[in-house]
């Protein structure tokens, strides 16, 4: 099937400043694409380019197989939900939702029917005669989604739609958007700076930094096999431990040597790693540094380290230590006996280890 959205060699400049550089992304119908990255990485600009609200400086954008590079937003068959909701303040909720249809000359009966459908779907029927100013944040969010849903477009665009909500509501709405996506089977592009939102919602994630795509992949690819140090550090909470180490080829595998603050360096053996340079950065997720006895297999090795800080987080307890000159977080179960200042045994599981080249930050394995 043709990709529903196909962006090729897209460039965007403001004067001499390059905002987006050589963007290539394609998604299939039904995909949920999340653009994620820190503030100023160009993700919102890219979304505006897809919507046609910003002209592009080079490349092409196709939606549903048709070239849309120079088509105005209203003819792209898209709907958009904005961070500030952008509800029309002087119109009632019902008028807000039907405005697009009214402008396009849809007959009244169809308008009424679609409005009723969407209002039921989003449970905003009692609000239809209110003004946006009389609604709570979550209700405004629903109306903004209703305005997009009623259009039944080829492509939905979301620009940080949850960032103005409080934490609890944000999680609720996140789930709701996800179930909406599953029920509608619609194609969506979603911008966020929240990597948890990205992980939970996406079928495909684009990680961006400074206008350049760092990695494109499924959430598990991005999480388990980050393409570089930036992605490794940005995705996941707490962040991946990135530990400077020395690597030495040893028969079939590699010996990894990590400096401890006291005593001999930790020596770990990775039988699967090959041809690593002498200096590497070892990337281990906090859950891969665990309590001994919970992980088994030839990739698991134990070592003693002094504990700096213990942070109970309910289900888990995060235990901080110091390795290779960097603070390192391990994820222990909540009844761990680790205590600050004591020496504790950590189990290192290298099954999902990532190796990075220190200078360039590229992934090595």
């Amino acid at each position: 099937m043709a990709p529903i959205l196909d962006i090729r060699n897209l460039y965007k400049n403001y004067g001499s400043v390059e905002i987006l550089k050589d963007i290539n992304v394609a998604i299939e119908p039904g995909d949920f694409l999340v653009l994620v990255g820190p503030s100023g990485c160009g993700k919102s600009t890219l979304l505006n380019c897809i919507a046609g609200l910003e002209p592009i400086s080079g490349g092409s954008i196709a939606i549903g197989g048709d070239d849309m590079t120079n088509v105005s937003p209203k003819d792209r068959d898209i709907a958009m939900v904005f961070q500030s909701y952008a509800l029309y303040p002087t119109m009632s909720v019902a008028k807000n939702i039907t405005f697009g249809m009214k402008v396009r000359g849809v007959d009244q009966a169809t308008q009424d029917r679609k409005l009723a459908d969407v209002a039921r779907q989003l449970q905003i029927e009692p609000l239809l005669n209110r003004r946006p100013g009389q609604l709570s944040g979550g209700q405004r969010q629903r109306v903004a989604m209703g305005r997009a849903l009623v259009r039944d477009p080829k492509l939905f665009l979301f620009d940080e739609p949850l960032s103005n909500l409080d934490a609890k509501l944000r999680v609720e709405m996140r789930t709701e958007i996800k179930s909406l996506h599953q029920n509608l089977g619609a194609s969506m592009v979603y911008v966020t700076h929240d990597q948890i939102e990205a992980m939970t919602l996406a079928t495909k994630i684009v990680v961006m930094k400074a206008g350049v795509i760092q990695q494109i992949g499924s959430p598990s690819e991005i999480y388990n096999r980050p393409a570089n140090l930036f992605v490794a550090d940005f995705m996941g909470s707490p962040a991946m431990n990135l530990i400077p180490a020395k690597a030495r080829t040893n028969g079939g595998g590699t010996t990894i040597e990590i400096a401890r603050r006291e005593g001999e360096p930790i020596v770990l053996n990775d039988p699967r790693a090959k041809d690593l340079p002498a200096d590497v950065i070892v990337g281990l997720r906090p859950e891969d540094i665990a309590e001994p006895g919970f992980r088994h297999g030839e990739t698991v090795q134990q070592a003693d380290c002094r504990v700096d800080i213990v942070e109970p987080a309910g289900a888990d307890t995060y235990v901080m230590t110091h390795l290779g000159g960097k603070p390192v977080t391990a994820r222990m179960h909540s009844e761990t006996e680790a205590a600050a200042g004591n020496v504790h045994t950590f189990a290192f599981d290298l099954a999902k280890v990532s190796y990075f080249e220190p200078e360039t930050g590229h992934r090595l394995n």
Partner: protein
């Protein structure tokens, strides 16, 4: 203040507060009286007969109220050789002010909308130039404007005066609307664009309904400016198209013989009434509109 354990010291300070408050009110009242005194003299004088003005006290209340002076001022007083009162000129002023206010407000709204929400290349420069227009003194443009009106063939006509006031007002009205619309998030325009609305549709359906406070500001400002204008009125009019301010001047200055103070006062009040009315009707929106931008920003 019925606390039984009230200490003398605190009672004294409460007393001080009350005294302070009363002092404040008295001072404010004095200022108000001082400020209202000219209006009082105008109104009372206009209700007196000429005989009473000559013999009586300036600030005394009229012994006998008569509306003769008002009648004369409205329809009989002489402005030079014509003796029709201020009535025809009053209607001239209405014919100039109403279209002048409506057109300049509408143009200012469209300008402000474009400059604030559809930022094009050079928008800031154009806005700066329009702002500059606000600071050009009337006198500077008199001669070029006279020439321009002559070339356009509308010299000495009411449309000519409307044109002059619209041109002169656009700088101000654009400033008002631009500053108001700048506080409205740009995402609103984006949302409407995605919804399929055109430039004018967005303006008409989304921005104008939001603009009541600033429209009122613009109307009050422009109406006051145009209605009270004398210089343009006297320069670019001819017999038959003069506004009420010019007629008032002619009544007061070009009559010979006995000065009819009561008629002069009545004519002056008639000339000032419409602006007063606009303030009373729309005043509360005026304050709201002036502060709306700063509060939200």
């Amino acid at each position: 203040m019925t606390d039984a354990t009230f200490s003398p010291a605190r009672r004294q300070s409460a007393l001080g507060k009350t005294a302070l408050r009363w002092g404040l009110y008295i001072i404010l009242a004095l200022f108000a009286v001082y400020y209202l005194l000219p209006l009082f003299v105008m109104v009372t004088t206009s209700l007196k007969s000429l005989e009473e003005i000559r013999t009586g006290d300036l600030v005394a209340l009229p012994r006998e109220i008569t509306f003769d002076a008002w009648r004369t001022a409205w329809s009989e007083a002489c402005t030079g050789i014509q003796c029709e009162g201020v009535r025809p000129y009053f209607w001239n002023s209405v014919l100039i002010a109403v279209p002048g206010v409506v057109i300049s407000t509408l143009l200012g709204a469209v300008n402000g909308y474009v400059i604030a929400q559809w930022r094009f290349k050079g928008a800031n420069i154009i806005f700066a130039l329009m702002l500059f227009g606000c600071f050009i003194p009337f006198q500077v443009v008199l001669l070029p404007m006279a020439r321009l009106l002559g070339m356009m063939g509308i010299a000495g006509t009411i449309p000519g005066l409307i044109f002059v006031h619209v041109i002169y007002g656009i700088g101000f009205t654009t400033l008002f609307f631009r500053n108001y619309y700048v506080t409205i998030p740009q995402e609103l325009v984006k949302a409407a664009k995605v919804d399929g609305a055109t430039f004018l549709r967005i303006f008409w359906s989304i921005f104008l309904p939001l603009s009541l406070p600033i429209i009122v500001v613009s109307i009050i400002w422009q109406f006051t400016q145009i209605w009270n204008d004398f210089l343009f009125g006297v320069s670019f009019s001819q017999a038959g198209t003069q506004p009420v301010t010019v007629a008032l001047n002619n009544i007061v200055n070009s009559t010979t013989g006995v000065k009819e103070y009561n008629v002069d006062m009545a004519a002056a009040i008639i000339a000032a009434l419409p602006t007063l009315l606009v303030y009373v009707v729309a005043g509360k929106y005026f304050i709201r509109g002036l502060t709306a931008g700063s509060v939200k920003g």
